[in-house]
Amino acid sequence: MKRRLEASELIFKILSYLFLTIFAICCLYPFLYAVSAALSGRSAVEHGEIVLFPKDIQFEAFAEMFNNNMFWNSYTNTLFITFYGTLWAMGVAILGGYALSKKRLLFRKGFNFFLVFTMWFSAGLVPQYLNYINTKDVFNSIGIMDDKWLVVIAMGMAAMNIILLRNAFEGVPSEIEEAAIVDGASEFQVLSRVYLPMCKSTLATVALFFAISRWNGYYWAKQMISNANEHPLQVFIRLKLEEFTDAEMMVGWDKAYASDSVIYALIVCSIIPILIIYPFIQKYFAKGVNMGGVKE
């Protein structure tokens, strides 16, 4: 039965659309502005004439980026760190989460505490820094000279993600596991043939959490990677920004496009991959938040 909306309900509905529209525009606008500013001519950018659409379109700012070897280098490095970092973190987290999900595991509470304690207390930046420096020495002494491996292996593990996996594995009915064992499956086969296929969506969510944090990682990569050729994209963007935002430093700038356009072009290039896959992965993130929320 269709009921007529009360006045207060109608007002609230209109208010909702209004608010959400404004908020959505606010969320989108900086990115649209970045695209426009990257594509606009020099005087339009420098005199702040761009509101939404590009003016005096040029592609040279993008061209300069694409001709810069360091840009491609940093892009490759980010892809490297994201791929291997996610692979490594997922491997460790799946094995650990699986073992923790077993009720028969001895000292299960202790292991859980070992994990959760790191969410409560962190040693802080300086001890972590000293620790990574030591690790770097160890890595160098066994012949791993590429600091990217340090970033891949030593960083980016998150206790929360392991707990998400553990909870998902606990949700698999134990009868299925028992049936597989009766059929002669080993522990690893149970994990790979029974548990992983049954927890696909959680696996996807957690892998995406890891991948996004790898793609976006900045601070430790900056601190630990000494060779500029190994810098990931985020570090490259930041260094360019620091180089270009000092307005007075740009006095001698004689290009046909504004120095700001280069930064905007760089920002646009760095978020394009995320924008492309984002609509497809968005639902997994929503799911992940609700899984991680509350656990009895």
Binding site: L95, F114, G124, N131, Q234, A247, I267
Partner: protein
């Protein structure tokens, strides 16, 4: 694996069935704590325990070993010596921080205060936003329209801190007096509506300590309000439509429905999220502050971890920096544990 037949079964004459010996649980318990039993269980089930090893090593090396490095807070730093062999400095670094007279100590307390204030304002302004957004999402009946709104408002969450801070830096940038470059577009907008004077805008909002907290909070809301609304939205759509109908029949307007139907249903979610938020009052993400602040804005922007970053990694004052972070993180941990205990008491659910 323990099979059912391993248990001692006793014949229960009343029911005429075999049942488990009640003392078996006690026997199991005693056996469980015997080391040879532990060893046997582990060996028999070695594959499972092997799976734990990589995780334990990763956490041991890169989460727990740094805690051992915290000893540095009590030692005279020397890069060439193991932290355990360095000269003992006692509590001198803590005394330095607490003295309140040296410039270092004043800087530390300023950072501690800023850490707390940034979080606290985040709690006041940032916390209610996702709830409001979730309430508004609930009003959008069309699935397509809602999906579009959701996709757009979650988007900022997936941008890296570097991209976000770069955008902020560019959008509120200072004007160039020599080059004639105009101030950032948001500064122009604020000047246009009369919120700030052109001089302030031209000097760059990020160079003005008076604006740092506002920029930090607003960009924080921009980044997380959409994404954080997911939890609340899930709680709201779980409310049965009949509850609304009942309220409507009773003549409840929208406000009354909010007050008597929606609010009670999502209250437990709100309480839990609020308690978590309070628990992390001293955990400020250092990356964002580090990327947004500059010496001009240290007054309002410097937090404990950026203080430690500058003193410890920048200036090499490892002892003082470790001591500062240790103080901050221990208090932070007590807050988390306290919050979690309260959450468990209040709602029978704990977060971990």
């Amino acid at each position: 694996m323990k099979m059912k037949c391993d248990h001692y079964l006793v014949f229960d004459e009343l029911s005429g069935k075999y049942r488990e010996d009640p003392e078996q649980a006690v026997r199991d318990d005693v056996e469980k704590h015997h080391w040879s039993h532990v060893l046997r269980t582990v060996l028999k089930d070695w594959r499972l325990y092997l799976m734990l090893v990589p995780m334990l090593l990763v956490f041991l090396f890169w989460r727990y070993l740094p805690m051992y490095e915290l000893l540095g807070a009590f030692k005279v730093y020397d890069a060439n010596i193991e932290v355990s062999d360095q000269l003992y400095a006692g509590f001198s670094y803590f005394k330095m921080l607490f003295s309140g007279t040296t410039s270092l100590s004043i800087e530390f307390w300023r950072a501690f205060r800023n850490t707390f204030l940034l979080s606290f304002y985040g709690l006041c302004f940032g916390f209610p936003m996702p709830i409001i957004v979730a309430l508004f999402f609930n009003e959008i009946r069309s699935n397509i329209a809602r999906s579009i709104y959701q996709v757009l408002t979650y988007l900022p969450k997936f941008m890296s801190t570097v991209v976000m801070t770069s955008l902020i830096t560019m959008l509120v940038r200072q004007a160039g007096t020599v080059t004639g470059v105009e101030m950032g577009v948001i500064s122009q907008l604020l000047v246009g509506i009369g919120a700030i004077t052109p001089e302030v805008g031209a000097a760059g909002l990020l160079n003005d300590p008076g604006f740092f907290r506002a920029i930090y909070q607003i960009s924080g809301i921009w980044e997380t309000a959409g994404y954080d609304s997911i939890v609340f939205f899930a709680a709201i759509i779980a409310i049965s439509p009949t509850s609304y109908e009942a309220a409507q029949i009773d003549g409840a307007g929208k406000l009354a429905q909010m007050r008597y139907v929606v609010l009670p249903s999502i209250l437990s979610t709100i309480v839990i999220m609020l308690i978590t938020r309070i628990g992390s009052l001293l955990n400020i993400g250092y990356e964002k502050v580090l990327l947004l602040y500059n010496p001009d804005t240290y007054v309002t922007a410097d937090v404990v971890s950026t203080f430690a970053h500058r003193q410890g990694i920048g200036e090499g004052l490892v002892g003082v920096a470790s001591a500062a972070e240790m103080l901050n993180n221990v208090v932070g941990m007590l807050l988390v544990i306290g919050a979690n205990t309260i959450a468990r008491k209040a709602s029978d659910v704990s977060l971990y």
